[in-house]
């Protein structure tokens, strides 16, 4: 057992075990600090050393074997100083402010830099929820749009949480290599160079088939050899599991193995405030049309329903779930379909309580 120390996180005193980073402590305590290059299965990104060259298919990229700086999204104010939460070990008495304005500004700047090199029009689109994303009504080219992983894209959640900065420059399609290998397809156009795959490859499977090099100050990920075999790939698929966007994808079906299955699902930010499903909170809900969502104790959506009268409908739901939220929307039947569609694509099934018509099938 390590020593117990006390830190002050957003004004709240928290007793923690020594030896953990600020980011780990926050996430353990259900306090969210934005992050993208962090993943619980691997060591923090900043400070990792690269190689002097990497490959993206036949393309050879030469650079310096320098250090990776990190995504810079987890910047917080610690004892009055801006620091990365993912590599700062907690010390007794540390005072941490997560949403300090100057930290927020830096975070936004770093996010703008990440997004300017990654297709993102769909993230900012008003109509993102009701769209099949096959045909774009605004006429954006396929290359500029988000990929098919959009409904569960980690980068999207983090971007929506932080808010896409106004000064984000337009993404310009670079026509980077799309490499088809025996097992995986690497679409390097989607890469945000967070080096999660690199660390997954070297730390989880110890294959060293992926690395990065620093070109003019920018870290660039790639294979350590021209092909999967040449780079020493062991085909574990950890890179596919750990990538926050959609660069490596299974060409065939997903093949399960212990390395791959060990990669945990990351905690994503909760984008909306939810309220306890109790009378005193429901009392403030307007009596207008809209869509309500119910959540269980673990904050999983269990029910989505459109209604003409939000307050009345939510009142009737008391006791069926732990939390709720709602959106006012005149076109609530449509909005309801949109939210169910999004849920289905993220989870591969209907929300639990929406399945209540289930018993009507056998009558």
């Amino acid at each position: 057992m390590g020593d117990t120390i006390t830190v002050v996180l957003d004004g709240k005193e928290i007793k923690v075990e020594a030896g953990k980073t600020i980011l780990e402590i926050a996430l353990d305590n259900d306090i969210y600090i934005p992050n993208i290059c962090y993943h619980p299965n691997i060591s923090p990104g900043p400070g990792k050393k690269g190689a002097d060259r990497v490959f993206r298919g036949e393309m050879e990229i030469n650079g310096e074997a320098e250090e990776y700086e990190g995504c810079g999204l987890c910047i917080v104010k610690i004892n009055g100083e801006l620091r990365k939460a993912c590599i700062t070990l907690a010390e007794n008495g540390m005072e941490i402010i997560i949403n300090d304005p100057s930290a927020g500004e830096e975070r936004k700047e770093n996010l703008a830099r990440i997004l300017s090199n990654h297709p993102h029009v769909c993230i900012t689109c008003e109509y993102r929820n009701g769209c099949d994303r096959v045909q774009c009504m605004f006429g954006y080219a396929v290359e500029e749009r988000c990929c098919d992983l959009f409904p569960r894209c980690e980068l999207r959640y983090v971007s929506e949480y932080i808010g896409v900065p106004d000064n984000t420059s337009k993404y310009v399609f670079q026509n980077l290599p799309v490499v088809e290998e025996k097992m995986y397809r690497w679409n390097w156009n989607l890469c945000i160079n967070c080096m999660r795959c690199v660390r997954g490859c070297t730390e989880v499977r110890e294959a060293n088939a992926l690395s990065f090099t620093v070109v003019e100050g920018n870290a660039v990920a790639g294979r350590t050899g021209k092909s999967d075999v040449e780079s020493g790939c062991k085909f574990c698929g950890v890179c596919v599991e750990i990538c926050p966007t959609g660069v490596p994808r299974d060409l065939k079906r997903r093949i399960s193995n212990k390395w791959r299955d060990s990669i945990v699902e990351k905690k994503l930010p909760v984008l909306k405030e939810v309220l306890r499903l109790e009378e005193e909170f429901v009392a403030d809900v307007p009596e207008t049309a809209g869509v309500l969502r119910l959540y269980d104790e673990n904050m999983n959506v269990v029910y989505i329903k459109g209604t003409e009268n939000l307050k009345e409908e939510i009142m009737a739901e008391i006791g069926r779930a732990a939390y709720f939220d709602y959106e006012e929307d005149e076109m609530y039947t449509m909005r309801e379909s949109e939210l169910i569609q999004e849920f289905l694509q993220t989870h591969g099934r209907m929300p639990k309580l929406n399945d209540e018509v289930d018993d009507l099938f056998d009558i």
Binding site: D132, R133, M137, D148, M334, E336, M350, V357, D359
Partner: protein, 293 residues
């Protein structure tokens, strides 16, 4: 004197039907499903879970009035049935909330899945619902329970309304465009967009260039089918495959989808435009029986 000729080539025929071989009074449960869509409204009466009568009419400016009209039309056709004889009514479709006399509303996704299994049999796994203003690809299990679905409700490109607009432009009745579009020797390149607004100007250009109506329709339906095939591939097509909604009656679109998927669509047992309302009526029956237990 100038005479203005009104042409309404988009007008598809309304149908009202009753199964005269049956007597509804023999049935234990009379259930009703109403699918209030953006372009059409269907009211279906089922006797013990079997299709007994239906009305398929155009949706007017008032959703509530359209719902009323559809039920009244089907009751009138039956003759001796009144609203009181119906045990349970379920409303569905985008306008489902504007059906004040419905006992319950259920989402159109659930109703379409359930209804498609009735219309096409329980081997159907992938359903393409081509409606008036949106397209939905739905995957179901053998009971018609929805496993996955994908739709676009933000853009009417390639939907029923779009086809109505093209019919009017070419002055061809909507019931004929499908057949006509197949009378081409060689399939033309698809029009570059299925967007109702842009396709309109592109088609005007083709008319000026002297393209035949058949060729224009072929080019348009070629584009429409490409768009839906992309949508289908996104959810994954698993046979058997079926198409519901108004456009399922357009052979020009259906054949082209089949060609692109290399998969034959199932033949419907009843009018596939009724799928949503049939699903609603089946749920209505189950809900009634459940309430009596």
């Amino acid at each position: 004197m100038v005479t203005v000729q009104e042409s309404e080539y988009w007008r598809w025929p309304e149908t009202i039907w009753v199964d005269e071989s049956k007597n509804w009074q023999d049935a234990e449960v009379i259930s009703c499903g109403i699918d209030l869509g953006s372009v059409s409204t269907q009211a279906v009466i089922m006797a013990d879970g079997e299709l007994y009568a239906y009305a398929n009419i155009r949706t007017g400016t008032s959703s509530t009035a359209s719902a009323e009209k559809s039920v009244n039309a089907v009751l009138e056709k039956i003759g001796d049935m009144t609203r009181e004889n119906i045990h349970y009514i379920v409303g569905t479709g985008y306008g489902r909330v504007s059906i004040p006399f419905a006992n319950k509303t259920i989402t159109e996704i659930a109703c379409h899945g359930r209804g498609a299994v009735y219309v096409y049999g329980n081997t159907v796994r992938t359903i393409l619902d081509m409606g008036g203003q949106d397209l939905k690809a739905i995957k179901v299990d053998s009971r018609g329970k929805v496993i996955n679905f994908l739709m676009n409700d933000k853009c009417a490109a390639g939907t029923g309304r779009g086809i109505e607009v093209v019919c009017d432009m070419l002055s061809i009745p909507i019931t004929d465009v499908g057949e006509l579009s197949l009378k081409v020797d060689e399939e033309p390149e698809p029009v570059s967009t299925t967007c109702v607004v842009f396709a309109k100007s592109e088609i005007l250009g083709l008319i000026r260039r002297g393209w035949s109506k058949e060729m224009i329709l072929a080019a348009f339906f070629n584009a429409v089918s490409s768009r839906v095939v992309e949508l289908l591939e996104r959810v994954g097509v698993e046979p058997d495959f079926a198409i519901t909604g108004g456009i399922s009656k357009n052979v020009g679109v259906v054949r082209r989808i089949e060609r692109k998927l290399n998969l034959k669509a199932l033949e419907p047992k009843v009018d596939p435009q009724l799928a949503g309302a049939i699903g609603a009526a089946l749920f209505a029956r189950a809900l009634y029986i459940k309430s009596k237990k």
